[in-house]
Amino acid sequence: MIPGSFSYHRPTTLVDAVKLLWTLGDEARPLAGGHSLVPMMKLRLATPEHLVDLHGIADLKGIRRDGSKVLIGAMTTQHDLLASDEVARSIPILHEAALLIADPQVRYRGTVGGNVANGDPGNDMPALMMTLGATYRLEGPDGGREVAAADYYQGAYFTAIEPGELLASISIPVPPAGHGFAYEKLKRKVGDYATAAAAVVLTMSGGKVATCTIGLTNLSETPLLADAAAKEVIGTGLDAATLKKAAAAAEAIMAPAADARGPIEYRKHVGGIMVTRALQRAAANAA
């Protein structure tokens, strides 16, 4: 399990990184935390000729509040997320979810950008970003552009990113004060991808759901927004019949693969349960 040979580049500016990736073309891969890419390289399932290590670019790191948004640099690690008071205070669902990603060592190195950018359906952050209405800032040779998380994922490992482009930062609108949230993740053990997971962000008004967004992880080739399920619960007090309808609506859009985590029917079934439980918990912790 030894990676193939490659040339190593460590740019110190985003501009240089983009230029390198553009110049080197298909044979180059950006290197963030490395916890997806390096094992693939050790198995020689990935054999890039060039690695562009993004760790030297100070601008890509950090979490800051910008008005009604929180900006997260792509090279911010899961550990940084967990250590951030801003995240804990304004987007607590990210804190909750980051704790469920991999293990402590991986969280020190694993980056938010790496988690969202490569289109791995097993990663947790993409569905969260969709649920939160986040926008990705992509920098390319012809300048930058913004892509909504909801528009970014096109298939397993297939995204809206163009050759030479690099994810620079993520902009997340801060959910309203008093919102309810939950990320319910069923996994076999620490370090595993989700068998099924659901993110819920909602607001309550007079005991009824006022707004609601539901995201799903690892239940299709891409992360999903369960819009129909969310519609079912708006205006309700999350009674049993509503929860059942919401779960059914969510299950209707799930298309997981059968794997060692279970057959398709099971993964959809527990997907529905994760939705139900996330809704209940989010409603309970909403103000």
């Binding site: 040979s5 076999r188 370090g191 068998t195 527990v270």
Partner: protein, 808 residues
Amino acid sequence: MNDMTPTREQRTAALEGMGCKRKRVEDIRFTQGKGNYVDDVKLPGMLHGDFVRSPHPHARVKSIDDSEALKVPGVLAVITAETLKTVNLAWMPTLAGDVQMVLADGKVLFQNQEVAFVVATDRYAADDGINKVKVEYEPLPPLVDPFKSMDPNAPVLREDLAGKTSGAHGPRKHHNHIFEWTVGDKELTDAAFNKAEVTIKEMISYHRTHPSPLETCQCVCSFDKIKGELTIWGTFQAPHVIRTVVALIAKLPEQKIHVIAPDIGGGFGNKVGAYPGYICAAVASIVTGKPVKWVEDRIENLTATSFARDYHMTTEIAATKEGKVTGLRVHVLADHGAFDACADPSKWPAGFFNIVTGSYDFPTAHLAVDGVYTNKAPGGVAYRCSFRVTEAAYCIERAMDILAQKLGMDPAELRLKNFIKPEQFPYHSALGWEYDSGDYGTAMRKAMETVKYAELRKEQEQMRAAFKRGETREIMGIGVSFFTEIVGAGPSKNCDILGIAMFDSCEIRMHPTGAGIARMGTKSQGQGHETTWAQIIATEIGIPADNIMVEEGNTDTAPYGLGTYGSRSTPVAGAAIAMAARKIRAKAQMIAAYKLEVHEDDLEWDIDGFRVKGLPGKFMSMKDICWAAYNSVPPGMEPGLEAVSYYDPPNMTYPFGAYICVMTIDVDTGVYKVRRFYALDDCGTRINPMIIEGQVHGGLTEAFAIAMGQEIRYDAEGNVVTGSFMDFFMPTAVETPHWETDFTVTPSPHHPIGAKGVGESPNVGGVPAFSNAVNDAFSFLGSTHIQMPHDFWRNWAAAKSLGVFASA
């Protein structure tokens, strides 16, 4: 007597002998990163070897082209079966009497089989080289399901066996059949079933899994052309056996083979067998004249060396309607993969599976085992169990629960009713074993009282009622397991490996200053032998354990031994230590008598020396005797104080235990929670309770993993789908339950210190406790048996099949 004179208690404590929770001497180096494991061995000019492996489970190898690989900088040689044929090593004998390809010879028979060995200057170049070897395959239909192995049209796997109607263990019924092994009285057993009031029958599978120690299998081979000597550092649980096997198959004089097993990072059976990597590294060293290292990676470890279990056991019990068992009938279909490389004593094709009558007084029993070939990796090692004992214990413990369910009896009560009684020991089982000692009822009752078993059953009743009323989605299971192990292989009349009797050995040399060294034929892989062996010696000869150095793993210095596996070290080598120590003490007594000027018979042993009977002041310490042994022995006596013992035990030992697992399962997700796990072990005399407890924790954790998800699984096309720690369930500290341990002590009557061995008991007894808990949880919904492993989705599938979601 002044105040400074130590009391008897202080003198005993100073020895840190048997029964003491002595801290481990090994830990000083391990906690500082100063262990010396095989991959830490670095020799000048050392090369690295790595395997090209087959992506196909069954295919003809049409050609191997190494030309591009040889152009890779640093690649020196590519070894194939053709190379090995020049030294007659393309195939190697297995411990089970079969032969196994070292490198693919015309065909591959399992995915990731070794096809070519690339030798290079370092591991990076070797890996580059294997990616450049071009192998042309012609895929053949794979045979994955062992139940189809003996279909008339099943593909022929082993072309080398064409026309052979018998194998190492008798006649073969089919081209994919390996052996049939039968034990017991068939007629009597059939008769018992014919007149039985109650019978049960169930096909109980124990899935394929893998021991997977954290350190994989590895070796360094160094051949000295001038001296004609081969030195092998390797992860060997049985270094002397490796030396003899190498001598036999490589035709090297045995004195010119030096096998060294340095520190080993866990074994659990994985490191008993001989693997192609060892042969290839040795041949590569002979070919290149340089040392060659081979280090398995984790995927190779999981997919190519040494699976465990894969037994499919059709089990029947006959009983009276009051619940007294009258007969046991078991047929096993054993999936051995592509080669029969089971690491069992040679005469035992199914190991000691005939311990399947368990802890119960079966008047008659019959067992038949059919071994078959499939396109899967070879192995069949004992994963922390003595030779198929864990399969046997699972089989009988599951079957007893099924019988209890049919009779409407409590499973613990059924066990109590059928236990072999204390007065029946030594007990001759219907399948041929002589159990040495046991007090099963006491152990079972202690376990039940500690966990408040009756209260748990009441709580379960209430929970089931609540479930039926729709008030909860959780079900509760109480898993009871009472196992009897058979360990300590073994009496040479029963057990050998390739003709070598399974004794073990110890050599003790005392030094003049009252210190000493003990050398052993065993090899610790984490069991703490350097600590515990010294404790036995300390108690036997009164020298502090700290003054005894224990050395294992070097075949040049250690006396010949059969190694460490199957919980045999304490029963066999532990006895050899005591016997060698007693020889030392006997000579010491003569020296003391001479120095104290009394007759030997006038001396009595007193903790750490000899005392003249009736004269408390006349005492000679063992320390002083050591000195005297080198400068003032009695006239005519040889100086020195050394002894060797080769111990051939008169019988196996039979540790036992009572385990109880309390579990809840969420039927909607299949997610389980182990609420409580209580393990009572009786391993006879306890040498170091701290280490025993540690062994039990570790074995229970393995049992938990196996029962709840740890599986080597193949898809229908023969691809391994659990080849890394992502999918092969390896629990972390978060998933692992809390363990409660307890004990009773029933010494072995035939063992010099009464010890029985413990390392494997928790795996043997733990698996049925977990599985019985799951099965017990579901039983009120109408199920009788749910196959392992009990991972989340399978628990959900069980709930679904039992109609739990029908009304939802």
